[in-house]
Symmetry: C2
Subunit: 140 residues, 2 copies
């Protein structure tokens, strides 16, 4: 349900407008990752009158709040996934686009080692794992 997104937006002190409710519903209805273009297509299919720019604006806002996270697909597309606001990483199914979240399982040791070897101080990292989800594994 989109209630979660809306509640979090309310929390963030921004207005709960009509278009935002509608777009949030579209996002909630999706599974796996989606692009801005997907949402724009959804919206126009349902004849919601929301403007293109409004969708980009809401995605930015949600990303700032950590409610949605940007994923760079291997093919170069920019997608988003609905998200817990805490730090974690994403498993992306290359077959169906399903997403699983994993929290840090040992990454900190890796970054510490990389820092030691390179002399860099590490401020942030991005780890994306690509593979096949349980469904797609058994389906084939």
């Amino acid at each position: 349900m989109s209630d979660e997104l809306l509640r979090a937006l309310d929390q963030a002190g921004v207005r709960l407008t009509g278009p935002r409710r509608e777009i949030a519903a579209l996002i909630a209805k999706r599974n796996g990752h989606f692009t801005a273009a997907d949402l724009i297509a959804d919206a126009s299919k349902r004849r919601l009158g929301v403007g293109r720019a409004t969708i980009f604006r809401l995605l930015d806002l949600l990303a700032e709040q950590g409610l949605v996270e940007r994923v760079d697909l291997p093919d170069g597309r920019h997608a988003y996934v609905p998200c817990e606001p805490s730090h974690h990483h994403h498993l992306v199914c290359v077959s169906c686009g399903a997403i699983a979240e994993v929290d840090d399982c040992g990454i900190d040791a890796v970054t510490a080692e990389a820092s030691r070897r390179s002399g860099f101080s590490i401020e942030s990292h991005r780890l994306e794992l690509f593979g096949r989800c349980p469904n797609c594994r058994s389906a084939n």
Copy 2:
């Protein structure tokens, strides 16, 4: 020097054309990451007559050969870094754009654990580390 790129291209069995030599030289002259737009600007500044499309085409080709790798910057831009063809990851200096390469230091354990928890089979991963290089650390 760009000789390394050219040798590798030759190895790959493609033609060593004039434009490719010139673009390779531009890449070799860069340090840190660069975007297609950077190269296009470099080329036009030097009045090389190379076409925009040729630059995109060579970047694709180099990326296929693993001589250059695409990095998705935190701000969403697509950049490239000159690269060893073997698997490894990149440390990106958020201040000056310098790059260091680190090979797998314990990532496999992380992906194995993520796979166990999620049921995904993991086929590939992408790890990017962002921070400050030794130069930029001491410069401030």
